[in-house]
Every structure is written in C-alpha cells, then in structure tokens.
C-alpha cells in the first residue's frame, strides 16, 4: 500500500488516466482483497511481538487451530497469545476500521478532507459519555457504549449546526467549530475526572489518549460487530456520498434524499466512533490519515474509499499499537500517541496545501 501511495504522489492523477477515470467494481474487490490479506498477515505477525517474544511456529500453529491446541506453547505463552495479545489486536483492528470508515464518511458528507472524529470533537463527545457512564452507571457494562454513542451523536449534531452559517460551511469554519466543541468537552472531561478517586485518574488519562489494553470480551465483540456492520451500511450509501461530496444542493438536484442519507451517515458514524471510544478511548487522526492515503492511491469514489479505508485503518492501528506496546517494552505508550505523531504533521500538510 505504501508503494502504491508513493506512486500516486509521484504521478498524481496521470496514474489514474489508465483506467479511464473511474473506479470499477473489479478494482474495488481487488483492492479490498489485497488489504484484507495484508490485515490478516499483520494480525498473525504482530501477535508474535510484544514484551514477551513468542515462538513463531508454535504460535501460528495455535492460532491456526483456533486455540484448540497449544502446539507446544507453555501455559503462560498460550495465555499471553490468546487471552491478552489477540483480543487486543482484534480490538485495534475494529477501532481502526471504525474510525477510518467514520472519517471517510464525515469527510464526504461535510465536504471537508480535514474532517475527522477526533478533530471534530466527536471522539471527545463519546469520551464524555463513557466517563459519565463510568461515574454514574459503573455497574452496568452496556452503559459505556450506549453513553459513548449518545455523546458522539450529540457532538456531531452540535458541530454540524455550528459549522453551517448563513453562507454555508467553509472548511475553516468546520474545524473551528470542532475546536470549540473539543475544548468545551475537554473541560467537561476534567470536571468529571475530579469526581473520580485518585487511583483511577491515571488509568483514565491513559485511556483518554487511546488505550487498547482495557477492554472486556463483550465490548470487544460489540466493537467488531459494529465495525463490520457500520462499514457495510456506510459503503451501501457510498454512491449518495459521492454526490454529497460535491455539495448538498448538487446532490439534492441529482436525486439524493439528502436529509435521509445525512441522518443515516451521522448516526452510523457516531455509532462507530462511540463503540471504539467506549472500548479504547480517543485514538486520534486515524480517520484523517487513512482515508487520505486511500484517496491518494485509489481515488475519491466512496464505493472504494469507505471499505478500503476500513481495512487500511484496521491495518494501521494494528501496526501502530504493536509499535506502542514494543517500542519502550516492557512499558507501553498509548496507541493514540503514535497515531497523533503520524497524523498531526499530515494535518498541517493538508491544511497548508488547502
């Protein structure tokens, strides 16, 4: 994928003249299959790395047997592989896919290549929801994703309303609205934090920056299901998004039921962000970096961008989290720190390029 991107950067649009200027179903299937293979390979390889290096052949054998056989791994190694590492990798994949698919859709719907769940304040909305759930309904596990979703949807709605002035929404205005909502919600987070006891505060600060280590089996299952279904629904609206990307009025004139599609996309994107934040905090910039690279190499047709971004996002976060948990092993970095390290400079580049 990286080589592809570089080729696109070098040759720009010329590389796309070859296929007549449009994306076909066959290309979409080919690109997605390729990304899927890369993702599965990455899952397998990254499961070997960590503070404890696992034996390659035995681990692959254990994974291939779907955990039925230990294949000579010690009980400790077996537990590390199947109970700690793989769930975490699957969560990374689900979170990456959710955030990238949501990012790509926000960008198309808001006509803004800079739109991103984290920068729009949507992640923070979900974070506030999650924290409220933890403080007030801590005993009920499902309150976390539910409140996270509510928070994400609320933040999305407010940013959208703030960004649309009488003169329409400029990209700058949207980002400003995102900054306002983000900072407001950040202070809300600080406020809720003060209601917590001191021992929990540190783990929450870590979680806020994006931390994939603290999930439960149920939240992981939910995150995976939401990632797959959510991406499917967004991809199913991709042709409408292609027109919305050119402006709501154009889309309306060409036959898109704008209000309905907008509602579906906001709802599903918020669901995706909510479920990833509930299980892993705010992993920033995934929704910016990944769709951008996908568009560079595969073009802007959302029928390819949305599913390809989901797969590439999964790949990106799986790799980023492996870096986060190995680079200063046995200590760990929050994965959000790694994604922001890559994403923030790219954001500056995109902003400069206009």
């Amino acid at each position: 994928m990286k080589a592809n991107t570089e080729a696109a950067l070098e040759h720009g649009p010329k590389a796309r003249d070859l296929n007549d200027g449009r994306v076909t179903l066959r290309q979409t299937l080919a690109a997605c299959s390729l990304l899927l293979v890369a993702l599965l390979a990455a899952i397998l390889v990254t499961s070997l790395f960590g503070s404890e290096r696992l034996p390659t052949r035995a681990s692959i054998c254990a994974i291939a047997s779907l955990g039925q056989s230990a294949c000579g791994l010690t009980p400790d190694q077996y537990a590390i592989l199947l109970e700690i590492r793989l769930p975490r990798i699957f969560l990374a994949a689900a979170v990456g896919a959710s955030l990238a698919a949501a990012g790509a859709s926000y960008q198309a719907l808001l006509r803004n290549p800079l739109a991103e769940p984290y920068l729009l304040g949507v992640s923070n909305g979900a974070a506030v929801g999650t924290m409220i759930a933890l403080v007030f309904f801590g005993a009920w596990e499902w309150s976390r994703p539910l409140m996270a979703f509510t928070g994400a949807l609320g933040a999305t709605f407010v940013v959208y309303r703030l960004a649309h002035g009488r003169a329409g929404a400029s990209p700058e205005r949207l980002i400003l609205a995102g900054v306002i909502v983000t900072t407001f919600l950040s202070s809300a987070i600080v406020f809720v934090t003060t209601l917590m006891d001191a021992t929990r505060i540190r783990s929450f600060t870590f979680w806020l920056l994006g931390d994939l280590s603290g999930s439960t089996t149920r939240l992981l299952t939910l995150a995976i299901i939401v990632a797959i279904l959510g991406t499917a629904v967004l991809a199913a609206n991709a042709r409408s998004l292609n027109l919305l990307m050119l402006g709501e009025r154009d889309a309306f004139d060409l036959g898109v039921e704008v209000a309905r599609v907008r509602l579906i996309v906001f709802f599903v994107a918020s669901l995706l962000v909510g479920s990833s934040v509930a299980s892993s905090g705010s992993v920033g910039y995934v929704g910016l970096v990944v769709p951008h690279l996908v568009r560079l190499s595969l073009g802007s047709d959302n029928r390819i961008t949305v599913p390809a971004a989901a797969l590439a996002g999964a790949l990106f976060v799986v790799v980023a989290d492996t870096v986060a948990r190995t680079i200063i092993a046995p200590r760990e970095l929050p994965v959000g720190a790694i994604t922001a390290l890559i994403g923030a400079p790219l954001f500056v580049y995109l902003l400069k390029r206009g």
């Binding site: 200027g21 960008q107 991809a235 991709a238 042709r239 990307m245 004139d253 036959g255 898109v256 029928r303």
Partner: protein, 262 residues
Amino acid sequence: MLQAENITIKYGSRLAVSDVSLNVRPGEIIAILGPNGAGKSTLLRALNGGLKPSSGQVLLEGHSLNQYPRRVISRHIAVVAQEGDVRFPVTVLEFVLGGRYASASTGAWGWETDRDIKVAHDVLRETELSELSGRLMNELSGGERQRAVLARALATEATVLLLDEPTANLDLAHQAVILGLVRQRSDLNEVAAVVVTHDINLAAQFSNHVLLMKNGHAVAFGHPAEVLTPKLLREVFDVRILVDAHPITGVPRITPVHEVRR
C-alpha cells in the same frame, strides 16, 4: 411538461416571489431576467422542488412535485448551477457519471451500467470534454468546469433543464458554447430549458420567451422582441436602455446608457 401555478415564496416575512406562473414546453427556452434580488433564482429553485412555495404549486406532467420521489423528479428535471469548488480529487468522468444517479435502480449503492458509461461518454463528446475525461475537476479551467457541469446535467437525460446563471464566469466564446448546446437540444424538441441570466443580449439571442421580474413580481412575459423594449427594461432595471436590432441576427440588442452627471 413543467408548470408553475401562482407561485409565492416567502423568506420569513420577506416576499421573494409573488404569484408567478410559468409554463415550460419542450423545444422552448425561457429566459428569466431581472435585477439582483428580483427572485429569479428563488423561482428556479422552486421549479425542481428545492424550495417549497408558500402558496401555489409546481406540476410535472400534470402532477404536483410533492407526489414524486426525489429520484423521479431528478430523472425529469436537471439543474445547471455555477459549479462550486470540488475539494476532492474527482475525475471529469466520475463527475459526469453523477448525473446517472437518479436513473439507477438502486440509488445508494450499485455501479454504473454499460449504458450509463455510454451516455456519459456521449455527453462528454458533445461538450468537447472527451480528452479530459480522466483529468481531475480541479485541474480544469473555468470554462471546462462549467461545460462539465452542463455535461452532468445532460447525462441525466432529463427533459427539463434549469440553468442558473450558467455563463456568469465565462468568456464570450464559452458563453455561446454553453447556451448553443442547450439550444441544439431544445431545437430537437428533446428538452425544455429555463435560464436565469444577467446577460440580456444572450437571452435575446437564445430564448423563445423572456420573463421579466422585479421585486418578486412577473413584470412581463413574451417573445424577446415584445418584452425587451426600452420602456419595460427601464422600468425593471432603473437605467436608460437603448434597444436596436442586432445587425446580423436581427434580435433585439440592448445597450444600457449610463447618464454621467457632471
């Protein structure tokens, strides 16, 4: 095929369009003229259901627009507005294929059929954009982009074209190209067109009928030669206007006479 009956549109308490009726027939181009704020574009938006009139109704093939799903309306009525900036790397072909959205059996998902591709290539040829089909929209010149917007509208195969100042940012040659293409289609009885424009001479040259508007009211409607008179134009535009016959085409030629105070 498209009728507006006693349309009144209000923005809050402000009356934007007041009791205007219009009948659009195949083979005809209607030009809507008037000063800024006359309600021209507002009326045009009401004609495809983009704005709901506070009273009166728009009929498509005899039925109120409200009775049709959005996609069906878009199959019949296409809009050519001034192109907004395209912020994503979209190719000209992808842009024009957008016009095939309403014709698809499944609107939201699905891929273009061979016929969709053929229609797109046909209109690209007609608008002389074939060479540029793989180029990105934001690499085109203003004239090329506006032709792509027209191509997309033609790709819908709609029988009614609504054009909102389609030539505002174009040089002389390109203005004529755009309206010439619409005129061609109209002469084949394939389409009816309504054009909102500030260019009175262009309207005189290309339209069958002219609707003069001021402050939301229809001031006059008729053939260009009947409507584009010094008296009516002065009444609508508040400037003295000289009207003579174009030396070649014979259509009314309008020249504003600005009285310079010394």
